[in-house]
Amino acid sequence: MSAPRIQNSDMSEPQVPVSAPRIQISDMSEPQVPVPAPLIQISDVSKRYDDGPPALAGLTLRIDAGEAVAVLGASGSGKSTLLNLIAGLDRPTSGSVTVDGVRVDGLGEAASAKYRRARIGMVFQFFNLVDDLTVHDNVLLPAQLAGVPRTEATARAGELLERLGVQRHAKAFPGRLSGGERQRVAVARALMNRPSLLLADEPTGALDTASGREVRDLLTALHRDGQTLVLVTHDVTLAHECATRTVELVDGRLSRDVQHTAGGVR
């Protein structure tokens, strides 16, 4: 099963107050040139939990808009911590994290929530769909939290479900879907507010081979469409196929940073 082709769409209705350059899922045949502006600037960031060794130790990393960056590393290398810091889910012990012009490390809880709403889409290894909400309601959720008018949000959700090939499951509950379908629903939800940055944490980690391939193709398509993407994975294949750049962490430090084209090292 191949990844659904993402079609041109009318993206002229930005509902979310996003100040950063908006990167839209648009014409797949005309890949946009990544804007060489730092979408993410991580400067000398360290993160330590309690008295243990640092999860991140003096990490500095810049990611530009339009990039697709895969973060590789062994368990405990700091990959998920890095993702949490970018998403504003956690705060660094020291250093700064700036995303889309926003100092994320200094945000309070409310500002952090608004920041995620407006700029971040997240895809998780175990999907993190709300079991008691239908597929459609799950996808609607970010827009509803952002206060997007219902008709517009519904239209947007329908459009995304259609594009991602799960429209027929719109009224179903997530528990009835396959892993791949659930992850596509999760991606649809992540894209609901047209985020400038899509974060994916082991997006294929809980999927079988076929479903994993679906998701890989989906993410590749999204990136080709201009979506800035940061994905954390153990899966080297996923990293090479989806990302244009691979960074590797070892004990919280950057050990490798390689630019490549999606599908191979540049």
Partner: protein, 864 residues
């Protein structure tokens, strides 16, 4: 420490649950200790004394002119009495002090029922001689202890009897059944009585537990004598109720709170233990996998409930005992005994019962924990099974509501049993608030109703006491001989003395009620000169006041002069006068205080419970206790008597009045005129209503300038505030607050469990951009619906409980309650009370909502 002990101790780390369990148990135990303690304390003294004295179940009065002593004696057999005493000759006379320990000479005491008894013993009504000795010769009399200001050695003159004999008080005796106010030898009694005497017969019966049984015995006695020969009969139940009144009045509502507390305790503890079992399923699996037996697991979870429950029970016993102190202090005053305390067995048994209830409640979920299969327990996560409430989520999701609100509103449907718990806890809280608010409103109304006994913004005293308004010098009632006497001035006290302490039998609202003996009258004639400061003492230099005139015509002229001045005073809208006097009523051994109204008093009537206000002479209104004591009803005819003169009157209404154990008659002044009785001049008051906008203080100042030369004085009428009502309000408010706090804690506890179980979903929401405010909104709205529902359930139940308890309190206090004071729940009161359920639920949810908002998203997302 054993493994079980460690598990139990680990339970203590669940602070919220532990605090909730301790608080609920505290509430239940303290209220129960208070209720059971008051019940016991109120009964014990009377029951002990009554049993010791072989008190009379029925005290019958006969007309000596209509029946012989032999016939009276035979009534014992006819009525099936197990024991009897009498017949004793009786007479009601009004003595005047010749010399007194506490009372100045020349003071005319209220009429006293005297009985002729050769000795204080006998098969029935064995009197306790508390001081001195029994009367054994002519000229000797024994007075009732604790009921008069007289002491041993005091001399009394009976001016109404031929020869005006003087008797010496040689002893004080106590009759638990209040069979008479004084006793003398049969010969002396015969000398005092002349031909106007009656007979008294005292009975004990095998079956005398209910009023109906005593009514039947009374009928049997009446049937055994000629018609009209039985002039009255008093039941010991009336005396008992009067004696137990103060504490007993508290019992109904304290019991209600105790039951509510126990229900809440069982509910909360069941929920907490169930919740901790549900939340720790994996932990139970681990415990069992390392070797815990099912019995050990069960014991561990019961132990987790018992530790805070024991703490709560211990604190509850202390609190219950402390709360009982002010109530029992009044009760001990009433019995003239040492301060009463909560019976030790109450403090021991109540917490044991509560702890057994806790253990039984905790046993069921603990047993479930013990029986969990290890492999199942290890496999089960903390997240509740999905699937419930989906339809509700879908429907609510379609409503035009902010998403956090619709998510919150749908939440209760995901866990119906837990939501039912919240509903039950909040409903109990709303019930308590409704009951407490209703009680406070009713008590305030009753207090107002009682204050209507003293109408008018300004009250003027026609014969002002020496020293002026509120000043010393006037003796409305002789100083009490012992603490059993009333602690405050009587109703007829001088201005400024309106709010004395509770009277002997202070039920709700009874404050500063008249003393036991009513109003002594100053008399003229031979005898030692009045002492300075005594009633009727001519005013001295610098003092206001005048001695009342000696003739009715002169009194009337003086009253007319004063009321004329009041009428002419600018600002006077309307007025009427009242006066009072002690008279006899057939069937009652003790005299009653007759309150006579003169003028248009329709604007200042007593609160009428049933019937109507009088509209002419020959009609009286009486308190509920009067009706209960005499067995009469509204519409019946009663016989008033004074100095051998009698007058038949019709009872046209029942009034709210708790003073003087109901020995009160309210009537038109013309009724007393027809009886040939004059009110005590010193009791004459003018109740004045002022024109709108007229200030009472400035009016009084101007009026007093006019009244002073007339020997009269006016003062601003100050409403009474009953200490009993204040104590009840305070206690009810305390118990209500405790109940509400526990209800809120129940909500808090349930939501803590809920939040823990849903923390992963919460993490998802927050990862998707749910702000802290939205999180708080979601959690609060998750209890909003249940809170409203609980309010809608709890408020009607609270109203029903109020309607059940208030009349019971009235019965305990010896009065009916006017319907307007029962039906206090109007729409303006009910609506906020229903919203009160919402407030309780939201208040209980605030902390969990805050915790949910602060939950770290990354941590929550990792929780599976």
């Amino acid at each position: 420490m054993s493994g079980v002990g460690r598990v139990v101790r680990a339970g203590g780390r669940r602070r919220v649950q532990s605090v909730v369990m301790a608080l609920t148990t505290l509430l239940a135990v303290s209220a129960s200790v208070l209720a059971a303690g008051l019940l016991e304390a109120s009964r014990a003294p009377f029951d002990r004394g009554f049993a010791k004295q072989q008190g009379a179940h029925l005290t019958a009065a006969f007309d000596a002119g209509a029946v012989t002593a032999g016939t009276v004696a035979a009534t014992a057999t006819a009525a099936g009495a197990t024991a009897s005493a009498g017949p004793f000759r009786t007479v009601t006379l009004r003595p005047t002090t010749v010399s007194g320990t506490h009372v100045p000479p020349g003071i005319e005491l209220p009429p006293a029922a005297l009985a002729g008894r050769a000795d204080p013993g006998g098969p029935v009504d064995k009197l306790d001689l508390t001081e001195g000795r029994w009367a054994s010769a002519a000229g000797e009399i024994v007075w009732s202890a604790g009921r008069s200001p007289l002491g041993v050695g005091d001399k009394l003159r009976f001016a109404g009897v031929a020869g005006s004999p003087t008797l010496t008080v040689v002893g004080l005796a106590r009759s638990v059944g209040s069979s008479a106010e004084a006793w003398t030898t049969p010969d002396q009694l015969a000398a005092l009585a002349g031909s106007g005497a009656g007979y008294q017969m005292l009975y004990r019966f095998a079956d005398a537990g209910t009023a109906a049984q005593l009514t039947a015995h009374r009928a049997a006695v009446a049937a055994a004598v000629p018609d009209g020969a039985l002039t009255g009969a008093s039941s010991y139940l009336t005396v008992k109720r009067s004696a137990e009144r103060t504490a007993a009045t508290f019992v109904p509502f304290v019991v209600a709170f105790g039951v509510l507390g126990l229900c809440m305790s069982v509910l909360i503890i069941g929920v907490v233990v169930s919740g901790s079992v549900g939340a720790a399923t994996r932990r139970i699996g681990i415990l069992k996998s390392v070797g815990f037996t099912p019995a050990q697991v069960t014991r561990a979870y019961i132990g987790q409930a018992m530790i805070p429950a024991v703490v709560g029970a211990a604190l509850g016993v202390v609190l219950g005992n402390v709360a009982a102190v002010p109530v029992l202090a009044e009760e001990s005053d009433a019995f003239g005994t040492a301060p009463l305390t909560i019976a030790p067995w109450v403090s021991a048994v109540v917490p044991v019962v509560a702890l057994v209830a806790v253990a039984v409640t905790a046993f069921v979920p603990a047993l479930r924990a013990g029986r969990l299969r290890t492999v199942d327990a290890l496999a089960v996560g903390r997240t509740p099974a999905a699937g419930r409430g989906r339809a509700a989520r879908r429907v609510l999701g379609r409503l035009p509501l902010p998403r956090p609100v619709s998510l919150g509103l749908a939440n209760p449907f995901s866990s119906p049993s837990r939501s039912a718990t919240i509903v039950a806890a909040v409903a109990l809280g709303a019930l308590g608030v409704t009951f407490g608010a209703g009680l406070a409103t009713s008590l305030a109304g009753i207090q107002d109703g009682l204050n209507r006994r003293n109408a008018g913004a300004v009250v003027a005293h026609v014969f002002a006491p020496p020293g002026g308004p509120g000043g010393p010098g006037r003796i409305d009632q002789p100083p009490p001989a012992d603490p059993a006497q009333t602690s405050g001035p009587g109703r007829t006290g001088g201005p400024g003395g309106q709010s004395g302490g509770p009277g002997q039998s202070g039920g709700p609202g009874q404050s500063g009620g008249p003393g036991q003996s009513g109003v002594p009258r100053q008399t003229s004639g031979p005898g030692p000169a009045p002492q300075p400061g005594a009633s009727g003492q001519p005013g001295t230099a610098g003092q206001q006041g005048q001695a009342p005139p000696e003739t009715p015509a002169a009194v009337a002229a003086a009253v007319a002069e004063v009321t004329g001045a009041i009428e002419a005073q600018p600002g006077t809208r309307r007025w009427f006068t009242t006066g009072q006097v002690e008279i006899g009523v057939s069937g009652l051994t003790a005299p009653v205080t007759a309150f006579a109204f003169d003028g248009d008093a329709t604007w200042g009537t007593y609160e009428v419970i049933a019937g109507r206000w009088f509209d002419g002479p020959g009609q009286i209104l009486v308190p509920t206790a009067f009706l209960d004591t005499t067995g009469l009803r509204v519409g019946d005819t009663a016989t008033l008597s004074d100095a051998g003169r009698t007058a038949k009157v019709r009872i046209v209404g029942e009034v709210l009045d708790l003073s003087d154990d109901g020995r009160v008659v309210v009537t038109d002044a013309a009724t007393l005129t027809a009886l040939g009785t004059q009110v005590d001049p010193q009791s004459v008051e003018v109740h004045i209503d002022l024109d709108a906008g007229v200030g009472a203080k400035s009016y009084v100042d101007k009026l007093n300038a006019v009244l002073e030369p007339l020997g009269a004085a006016a003062d601003v009428n100050v409403a009474e505030i009953s200490e009993t009502v204040v104590a009840m309000d305070t206690l009810a408010a305390t118990l209500t607050v405790m109940l509400v706090v526990v209800a809120g804690m129940g909500v808090l506890n349930t939501l803590v469990l809920d939040t823990r179980e849903r923390v992963h979903d919460l993490g998802i929401f927050k990862a998707l951009g749910m702000s802290p405010r939205q999180t708080v909104t979601m959690v609060l709205t998750s209890v909003a619906g249940t809170g409203l529902l609980a309010g809608a359930i709890g408020v009607p139940l609270g109203v029903a409980l109020h309607h059940l308890v208030l009349p019971a309190m009235g019965r305990a206090a010896g009065t009916g309650i006017p319907a307007s004071y029962v039906e206090v729940f109007g729409p303006l009161m009910v609506l906020p009370l229903i919203l009160g359920g919402l407030v309780i639920a939201v208040a209980g949810a605030l902390l969990p909502a805050g915790w949910a908002a602060k939950t770290r998203t990354a941590t929550a997302l990792r929780t599976e």
